[in-house]
Amino acid sequence: MTGCFSTLRPHMEDAVRLPIIIAGTVLAGAAQADTPTLTVYTYDSFVSDWGPGPQITEAFEAECDCRLDLRGVGDGAALLAQLRLEGERTDADLVLGLDTNLMARARETGLLTGHGLEPPDFDMPIAWDDSVFLPYDWGYFAFVHDRETMPEPPESFRELIASELDIVIQDPRSSTPGLGLLMWVEAAHGEDAPEIWAGLADRVITVTSGWSEAYGLFTDGEADMVLSYTTSPAYHMIAEDDDSVAAAPFAEGHYMQIEVAAMLAGTDQPELARDFLDFMLSDTFQSVIPTTNWMYPARRPADGLPEAFDRLIEPERALHFDPQEADARRDPALDAWLEALSR
């Protein structure tokens, strides 16, 4: 709190006084009861009215005798940036929504602590054993297309390159699925990845900053395929009764995204945080995931998955880097991506 900050502060307080007064009236409405509050930082789409947030909050508050404060910040990468920005003074007790590509960096911050729980058996294609992070859902990246206009989609990256199709992808610098595609090509083609990207460059009609923009372009007919998830068609089947949207199975296998949660070392509610992680792996939480987050739950609920999930493609090979390797490959892979697509 010294140096140039102290010279800033007097001005600063003038600047925030008005907002504080406004906020004061807002806050006055909030109950200040003695019930403990568990603050969970997550990505924005988790807390939205259409995400898992509302149901999760209701269910957890019904059994915890506490208040669950879910706060949404951008996407997974923004979430990590937020934690690093706030540092040890963060209000967060838990963070939920990082993925395996971000885990190594999140661990390095030293802000997280071990969950201390006995990990249960997960229903995931890979084994999970980590003392800090617990997964709550997962999915495979895939190129999604319209079955009716494209009955025979490409079956590999090379077939995609050889096709005349227009695809839209996300920028790995600003989007987690974009980074996921980077890892997919790395995992599937290793040393040939730059060559694959050089080939794909002609297929990529454009690159968007986030998933929503890309999916919107695809929905509007601007591209033949969009990078999304194998579970995306489930949304259209369940919510729109439309089974024309399909994911194309690739022979190389599909890269996995595993979304995880972890406890903050500085939490003042360690018991409650552990309760939440326990709850996160329960049937109640896990059965909310498929039709709100449109991903596979980390543990299959006793009632199984919605019927539409049985009609999704099941990749023959699950591709995955452990967090260290994903982190080590990230920067060189980005350089290769930039070089290929900047031409």
Binding site: C4, D49, D171, D220
Partner: protein, 525 residues
């Protein structure tokens, strides 16, 4: 002599300037302070800088070059629905980028109506992605603003000048040479600067329509520094580069722009006697029609796509719309207070013969245009976090940042008008001893209704459509309409999102319309 207008202007100006410095530079300083280690400016950054400059320059030149004939046609023609058309033409500027981009692509995209028409004629579809796409999108966004800024210039020409021109029997060519050209030399550089600065911080539009990472702008590099690398030093350095570009551009413009030399007038409505020719009317009609076609077709697509989803929008979206309205109104009040204060101070300095101080303050008022929203948001977060709960302040900070971001436009609209009023009526007011508050109430405000209404409308509409800093402040349950729109898209609900986009478009336009009309209630034309 100038003393009379000063105390009021200086105090308000100082307060506005302090707030501005705090938000724009305080946030940058906070990011730099929080950074560890030094930043380097690599080859990729140079490439981003080059692309940013290229696209922003081209976008600014095209936007303003096209705006000149359109504004001229609108300035010299009166027809039913002219006011509505002018308001509607402003719509692209206030739309959230994602909505505008999807609307634009519905016309110019691969499966857009233009490609469909070309296909019908047996031609290849258009390929929009590339530098030309970026420039097209930026012209779509900024042509309306440039047109409005130039239109203000035309409206500021005293009616007596046109009467005199008529008395001399001037044709359109003479009017252009003796009246319009000097006015344009005064107004165009400022308009070019504004559009250039807006395009400077473009990121999602540039990336999406640029077709990939070759369209990386400095703002995207800042985004990457935050999100991908968490390299705050680099983010701060890049933000500083953006300010440098802003200062440089401002300097160039002040060199080029001619000082105001229009002279006094008697506030009477303009009547043009030099425009009797039928060919000229056809030309003007054609120009207005083309601009309307270019700007309104994408809007029509947004409306068409949005109508089916509008009725079924969930209650939370309407609630968010109400919240956004409040934020917009708060931001508008703040913008008007700040812009008026700054403008009074600038003109006060100029009248006191301190042109340097006036110019510095004016540049300060423009600098927010070059500020990276991400840096402002993150910086404010760093500043607020130790003393208050940022998530509780999410809406208040959103309004504040929206106000700061809209200030340059308000100042741009107010300053020339205020200068004009002071030049025309200042001496008389001085001789009558009207100063301070009375001068503001009796002399200045009544004559600033136009630009004030325009500024308020623009600020309200911009604030309404801005996703802004709210995403950084984790204001989970206090979502604004743009945030709800993004959330709908993020939840695959593209139909509902299109409905929300239409709602946003309608509300923004209604706000703009209400303020802008309010500002010209008793003005003819």
């Amino acid at each position: 002599m100038a003393r009379s207008a000063q105390p009021l202007g200086l105090w308000a100006g100082a307060a506005a300037a302090a707030l501005l410095v705090c938000v724009v530079f305080g946030s940058l300083a906070a990011v730099a302070w929080r950074a560890e280690g030094a930043a380097r400016f690599g080859p990729a950054d140079w490439a981003a800088l080059r692309f940013t400059l290229t696209q922003a320059s081209l976008s600014a030149l095209f936007s303003v070059a096209l705006a000149v004939p359109v504004a001229r046609a609108l300035a010299r023609r009166r027809f039913t629905g002219r006011g509505v058309l002018i308001t509607l033409l402003g719509a692209p500027f206030i739309l959230p980028t994602i909505v505008a981009v999807l609307g634009l692509l519905a016309v110019f995209g691969r499966s857009g109506i233009l490609s469909a028409a070309l296909g019908w004629a047996g031609l290849e579809p258009v390929r929009i992605y590339g530098l030309h796409g970026v420039v097209l999108a930026h012209v779509f966004f900024n042509l309306p603003l440039a047109t409005r800024l130039l239109l203000q210039g035309w409206l500021a020409v005293p009616a007596e000048r046109f009467r005199l021109a008529a008395a001399f029997g001037f044709g359109p060519r003479d009017v252009f040479r003796h009246i319009e050209w000097p006015m344009l030399r005064e107004v165009v550089p400022g308009a070019v600067l504004v559009v250039f600065l807006i395009c400077l911080t473009s990121f999602a539009v540039a990336l999406t329509l640029g077709g990939g990472p070759r369209a990386t702008t400095v703002e995207l590099a800042i985004y990457q520094a935050f999100r991908f690398d968490f390299d705050l030093a680099r983010a701060a350095l890049l933000a500083l580069v953006q300010f440098g570009l802003c200062a440089l551009a401002a300097l160039v413009v002040y060199r080029v722009a001619a000082p105001a030399a229009m002279g006094g007038g008697l506030d009477r409505p303009v009547e043009r006697h030099d425009l009797q020719g039928r060919g000229l009317a056809l030309l003007d009609g054609g120009l207005i029609g083309l601009a309307a076609l270019f700007l309104l077709t994408p809007l029509a697509m947004i409306v068409m796509n949005g109508v089916p989803g509008l009725a079924g929008l969930p209650g939370t979206v309407w609630l968010a719309a109400g919240r956004s309205l409040l934020v917009a109104l708060a931001a508008t009040g703040l913008v008007i207070a700040m812009a008026l204060g700054l403008a009074l101070a600038v003109v006060g300095f100029e009248r006191a013969g301190r042109r340097g101080a006036g110019a510095a303050l004016e540049v300060l008022g423009m600098v927010a245009l070059a500020a990276s929203p991400l840096v402002i948001g993150t910086g404010l977060f760093i500043l607020i976090f130790p003393i208050a709960d940022p998530s509780a302040l999410a809406l208040a900070v959103t309004a504040l940042v929206n106000a700061v971001m809209a200030l340059p436009f308000a100042l741009r609209a107010l300053l020339p008008a205020l200068r004009g009023v002071e030049a025309d009526h200042g001496r008389l007011a001085d001789s009558l001893g009207i100063g301070g508050r009375a001068r503001l109430r009796l002399v200045l405000l009544p004559r600033l209704r136009h630009p004030l209404g325009f500024s308020a409308g623009l600020a309200a509409a911009l604030s309404m459509g801005d996703l802004g800093v709210i995403v950084l402040f984790a204001g989970g349950d206090a979502a604004t309409l743009p945030l709800q729109l993004y959330r709908l898209m993020g939840a695959y609900r593209m139909g509902d999102a299109a409905g929300a986009a239409l709602l946003l478009l309608a509300l923004s336009l209604a706000l703009f319309w209400a303020f802008d009309r309010g500002g010209r209630r008793d003005a003819r034309g």
